[in-house]
Amino acid sequence: MMLQLENTLFIITMLLYFASMILYFVFIVAKKDLIPKIAILLQLAGFVLHTAALICRGIGAGRLPLTNQYEFATSFAWGLCLVSLIFIFRFRFPVLGAFSAPIIFLIIGYASMQSKEVRELMPALRSNWLGFHVSTAIIAYGSFGVSFVLSVIFLLREKIQSGAFLDRHIPQREKLDLISYRSVSLGLLFLTFTIVTGAIWAEQAWGAYWSWDPKETWSLITWIVYAIYLHLRIRRGWQGRSAAIFAAIGFVCVMFTYIGVNTFLPGIHSYA
């Protein structure tokens, strides 16, 4: 019952995200100022239903919906949508949605291709730390997703001629760079939470808080890459373009940690 409801909500959510993405495209082509307002409303509605879908799945499965590929992918899309909405409102920057919507849609599309079967959890996964570990990972990944989007916008803004429309909707480079830094900071803080809670959990489950499992190692690599980003930014001449490129590379590491490690490298995280 709950799972059926979840399925329906999930499909409506996908449609709403899709519609909002299309509207953002229309906005970029038609340049009508009203369109992004509607697109944000659709995205917001999608987000609310998405939250409801996750809650239904949680109730249906009797646990946090954060334990298999489908659940993590849909939660990742949810996290990216959450962080991008926060940044849209906090920095009054609706066009951010135009660039994050396709990525959100891509991830939720990936989720829809995964098996939605609810499986019982193996004993090692039955831990409260799992909830903290995965939910902080979702926020971290969402923030890094937003920083990636901001970097792309930054690099595109350099290429495109300034004009009244562009200046009205896309902040100046200095501000873009700073917002991108804010999203990396949020991501790094949450990635640190993720790694620490994961270590506490591993310590309780296996008696080893760090065992250089490929997924652990890649989350550390991601952490280091963003630490390099922060240090480079302090050096003169490294803000702006170089920082944007570096943040984009960081997101490639995030995606590799998320998908690549499970696909290409063996390890105990193979269930998630």
């Binding site: 019982e120 193996m122 700073l178 803080l189 640190t192 008696g207 808080y209 250089w212």
Partner: protein
């Protein structure tokens, strides 16, 4: 500058830190790409003999404990330690100056606005702490307020956390004691050379209605051979037990069976074996029975290896191997009612049950590593979310003030906020 001074400066510089971090990330990625801890033969089969030789020569098979990995980590620690020590006096001075109006009152800050009649309202709108009144050098009235001055300590705290974490991890790795014991209820095993004995009292496998496993719980008693004391506890997955300063983890499980050997119909010996264990025949030690594998719910399909469909005892089967004078004599699958006959000997496998594998660890430095982790999080929070901002107002003419502000990291966002609130 002398060459030594140059080297010292480089070793404590942030440039070196960035370089080290990049090299460390690269080293980690190499370590994650090469499967760790395998033999030459394994790598040779997977790649080629030359690659395998290279992997072993460069210690890529144990990358995270190799000399080069330790060297990079050691340099990072030295760099970080020097950086933090050298920055400490600067930071103390900076903190003093951040919290005192003297440093800013004469300047214009990042942004300022003239002709303000109610400066205190600006402080309120910008959510600054209540300003203190003071005087400029030339005796004019002024207000000053600083928000989140501790923010400047964020990076320093984060670096300290990293040092503690690395110290805790390294000390733990070099001093920790680790043992594994496994068995079925009734069996007793020594815990390494600690002088402690562990006896399994019970092993409970909690199943859900659909036969999947919900929890494994091992109950055991640990006895000290030195003072004769004993203590009992139980450990389940995710809930380790603590006894005698060590932690006991229910780590994994497997199957055990009772193996009975008779000779010409006469009972000869009986022992419980866990999968992978061997039993030499008592009066013919060259003859060895190996309990190779156990399938609780055997499925045999043409052309593929035997496997088990579920974890329940629906169709149990035993895979054995028999060795005589180190030569394989035979290998086959036995169903419960079947016996294995070798000349005058008859071997039966019965009473399948699960055994528990307990991981035992003593690492007094784990709390240090976790404290490091918490301090890193605290430092990052201070650095990112306690942003130092200063605001001051100077009375230019009676009732007419100039309000100025600066922010360590707010940049254009701070300036925009300032202008919004002032207007």
């Amino acid at each position: 500058m002398s060459i030594l001074k140059k080297i010292w400066k480089f070793i404590s510089s942030m440039r070196f830190a960035i370089l080290l971090l990049a090299v460390l990330a690269l080293a980690c990625s190499v370590g994650s790409m090469v499967t760790q801890g395998q033999s030459f033969a394994w790598y040779a089969q997977r790649y080629s003999e030359r690659t395998a030789a290279l992997i072993l020569a460069l210690h890529l098979d144990d990358a995270f404990h190799s000399w080069w990995f330790l060297l990079i980590s050691a340099f990072l620690c030295i760099n970080l330690l020097l950086c933090n020590i050298l920055r400490l006096p600067q930071l103390i001075l900076q903190y003093k100056s951040e919290t005192s109006p003297a440093s800013v009152l004469s300047g214009k800050g990042d942004i300022s606005s003239n002709g303000i009649s109610d400066p205190e309202a600006v402080f309120r709108h910008l959510r600054m702490p209540a300003p203190t009144s003071c005087r400029t050098d030339d005796g004019r009235n002024a207000f000053f307020s600083v928000k989140n001055p501790v923010g400047i300590w964020g990076a320093w705290i984060c670096h300290l956390g990293i040092l503690l974490l690395i110290a805790g991890f390294t000390l733990g790795q070099t001093t920790q004691q680790q043992f594994t014991v496994y068995g079925v209820p009734g069996q007793t095993c020594p815990i390494g050379d600690t002088g402690l004995l562990l006896t399994f009292d019970a092993f409970d496998v909690a199943l859900r209605p659909d036969d999947t496993v919900e929890q494994y719980t091992a109950s055991f008693t640990v006895r000290s051979t030195e003072d004769g004391s004993s203590r009992s506890a139980s450990a389940s997955v995710n809930h380790p037990a603590s006894l005698y300063g060590m932690k006991f983890y229910q780590n994994s499980v497997g199957w055990a069976e009772t193996v009975t050997v008779t000779q010409d119909g006469q009972f000869l010996q009986q022992q419980i074996l866990c999968t992978g264990e061997t039993l030499p025949v008592e009066n013919k030690p060259d003859l060895i029975i190996d309990f190779t594998a156990f399938y609780p719910d055997l499925v045999m399909e043409a052309g593929s290896m035997p496997r088990t469909a579920t974890g329940s005892l629906n169709n149990p089967a035993t895979l054995y191997t028999v060795y005589y004078q180190d030569q394989i004599l035979g290998m086959n699958i036995l169903m419960p009612e079947e016996e294995l006959t070798i000349d005058e000997y008859t071997v039966t496998f019965s009473d399948p049950q699960m055994y528990s594998l307990i991981q035992i660890k003593r690492d007094v430095f784990t709390p240090l590593a976790f404290a490091g982790g918490l301090i890193i999080m605290l430092g990052l929070f201070c650095s990112f979310y306690l942003q130092t901002e200063k605001l001051w107002a100077v009375e230019v003419s009676p009732g007419c003030w100039t309000v100025s502000g600066c922010s360590r990291k707010g940049g254009v966002l701070f300036r925009e906020k300032f202008l919004r609130e002032v207007s």
